[in-house]
Symmetry: C2
DNA sequence: CCTTGACCTTCCAGTTGCTGGAACCCTTAT
DNA sequence: ATAAGGGTTCCAGCAACTGGAAGGTCAAGG
């Protein structure tokens, strides 16, 4: 399989696949002409990576998950640990974004959005927080 | 005011303030010795930027908001437009994260987290999505 | 046989918003 | 004289790609 096929089948851009090789996540063989030659197992790895990335795992997490995936002697505790940690981070991010959204949606709701210059959004940004 | 004072009073790291000058968000004057000399209005701008960044606005949004803030002929519609757009992006991000979290927390919940290798998390990453 | 087009290759630069560090200057106190 | 604690510039790096340039390869068509 050439990179284009793998891109199509994994859903990852070719650029990203090359990048993943660069950082050592996959090691495709090479054809005599220099083209990357992917085997089914490479495709499988890339699909794994695509799904892990889709769940928001960092590249380093992905690397570790992949190692665990291929390590028969892993424990599910190791995997769960990574996942739980990531889950906590996601929750923190959501909480953070929600706070932003709440503040912001208040401001947006209060803003007339007309052709006059008065604007509670700018007023709020321009002075110390009161609604805190 | 030197940069250290402004950092303390604005809550922004000195490094960040220098960076903001680099990209043209503030233009402090200079003392004869080359030190940045901030006036109250510079501090005010920086505090504005800190709050806008705190609401998650991009640097470019911040630049635009600052321009509007200082432009007496602005319309609140222009401001609201930026804010609404940003609000939409935040909502999109939250939705995205929530989906990740839902999937991930299911997986974490199903994972025994013991010393055996069987792990639904890895299984899910290793094969095509079924719970989709 | 030559060309065209669609592939593939490498390498370098840019993205966002800082952050760390090196190497150096200025000021004040001891 | 020197040490501490400011300040300065510039360069590199983070995450995770993405875009683009310059070029090699391959199969099909004229």
């Amino acid at each position: 399989m050439n990179i284009g096929d793998v891109a199509a089948r994994s859903g990852l851009p070719a650029k990203t696949i090359r990048y993943y090789e660069d950082i050592g996540l996959v090691r495709p063989q090479r054809d005599p002409n220099g083209y990357r030659a992917f085997r089914e197992q490479d495709l499988h790895k890339l699909a794994f990576l695509g799904r892990a990335r889709g769940l928001g795992f960092s590249i380093e997490d992905c690397r570790n998950l992949l190692h665990l995936y291929e390590d028969e002697t892993r424990t599910s505790a190791e995997v769960k640990d990574i996942a739980q940690h990531h889950l906590d981070e996601i929750d923190a991010k959501i909480a953070n974004l929600r706070e932003m959204r709440d503040t912001l949606s208040d401001l947006v709701r209060c803003c007339a959005g007309d052709d006059r210059p008065d604007c509670p959004i700018l007023e709020s940004l321009g002075s110390a927080p009161e609604t805190n």
